[in-house]
């Protein structure tokens, strides 16, 4: 059984527009995979399908071995998600925000509190737990969302353009942190981005363009001697 993430022959249409066309790739357990694609490539559509915001009859998605169509609740239970748009309630404290999420996953009481503390500690924001989310800067809000996505110990973590709107230092810090989580805690990560500097040579790379997978493999192998940015622009035909 594949305990990572598996996407097989997934297609999706918005009316006449083909948003995803026969998309397939696997991410093995403990692997960091970057889903790289220009704006409009179909990344957000793929994320909506991966998180079951909508479903398709064309193709299958499996999270930690659970088929999203047949066992959606088990699949969602094994998944942590950081959405592109902010999802924190700014009027609540960080702890209240995380407590709400924990409850949505059936966690409460001492167990939830312990998990929240651990997740915040892991993201180095435990000391801010009592502050309102409104008081945090963009980088810390993102950290909070990542901590929240880890409360229920998922085996697969999905991040949809998680660094959008952050300054360079915060972007690097979060990118490094998620890479560390992946290697130290055997977390399977799918990181959607359009920024090539967030992808490491040791990452798996899936290049998505106009709804199709253009290339997949180890980043270092795909880019060869060229910088990743040049390879990406060449592959997608997008002018620099």
């Amino acid at each position: 059984m594949n305990t990572g993430l598996s996407v097989t022959s997934v297609s999706y249409r918005y009316g006449a527009k083909q948003a995803l066309d026969d998309v397939s790739f696997d991410v093995a357990p403990g692997q960091f995979a970057a889903l790289l694609g220009p704006n409009g490539a179909g990344k957000s559509t793929l994320f909506s399908l991966l998180t079951r915001l909508f479903t398709t009859r064309d193709g299958t998605i499996a999270i930690a071995g659970f088929d999203m169509a047949r066992s959606p609740r088990q699949a969602l239970q094994k998944m942590g998600v950081v959405f592109q748009s902010p999802t924190l309630d700014l009027d609540l404290t960080i702890r209240q925000n995380l407590g709400y999420f924990a409850a949505l996953h059936g966690l409460s009481g001492r167990d939830a509190r312990k998990r929240i503390d651990r997740a915040l500690d892991r993201l180095q924001i435990l000391d801010r737990a009592g502050e309102k989310a409104r008081n945090l800067n963009g980088g810390h809000r993102r950290r909070t969302e990542i901590a929240r996505a880890l409360i229920h110990d998922p085996s697969v973590l999905l991040l949809d353009e998680a660094t959008v709107g952050l300054d360079a230092a915060a972007r690097q810090s979060i990118t490094d942190h998620v890479h560390r989580l992946c290697s130290e805690e055997n977390l399977t990560v799918l990181w959607a981005t359009h920024l090539t500097d967030e992808v490491f040579d040791t990452d798996q790379l899936v290049v998505l363009h106009e709804g199709k997978v253009l290339a997949r493999g180890l980043c270092a192998d795909l880019r060869g001697d060229s910088p990743l940015k040049d390879y990406f622009l060449r592959a997608t035909g997008v002018p620099a």
Binding site: S48, L53, F83, D89, H105
Partner: protein, 263 residues
Amino acid sequence: MSAYLIALRAIVLREALRFVHQRERFVAALVRPLVWLLVFAAGFRAALGLSIIAPYQTYITYETYIVPGLCGMILLFNGMQSSLSLVYDRETGSMRLLLTAPLPRGWLLFCKLLGSTMISVLQVYTFLLIAAFFGIDMEPLGYLAALPALMIAGLMLGTLGLALSSFIKQLENFAGVMNFVIFPMFFLSSALYPLWKMAESSSLLRDICAFNPFTHAVELIRFALYQQFNGWALFWTLLATLVFMSLALWGYDPARGLTRRKG
């Protein structure tokens, strides 16, 4: 406690916290029915003569007549307001968080509905308290008997809002829908005038009012406030709740898609 109940408690609590943080909205929601009660009704008292109809056993003032309709008005506006916030939540992302929880989508939507209905009912009781202060009061047991009626009516209007929010793809489209839903629903009902009065003007309009589920929600509340049970109103209100909830579940079905088209 089961995962279902833990989620229910958290979602209801979150709605309550939201309400605490939006006290202005609470006051604004009370101003509207109070203006109707204290200004509009006072002006129309002389113009509108009311005969004795059930559940009343004597002649009543116009202010007394419209109190249940104004309770319905609070529930109606709040139902639409919460559906507006659902459209907003969906655009900002927090709706995504809710819908990706590992629980049946129908349950998650019901929890959200229940939370917002409880807040609406609290507003109705505040309105009734102010009305009592101005001399428009009921028997103490009437207030108690009205609780289930208010909850059912609130759930019905909440499911309508939920159904609407699932079909409205953008916030900008919402204002138009509000005008096409709230005003016809409110004015084509028994909230402001009894149906026999409407029949004097137009039997067609009277029939439309009799078909309008909001009329039945108002009558359910009206009878309950006077400790009487209106089975026909209950049947219509429950039926409408079922229809609206089915529409909402269909609208929020992941196979239909939820979010706007993005890259």
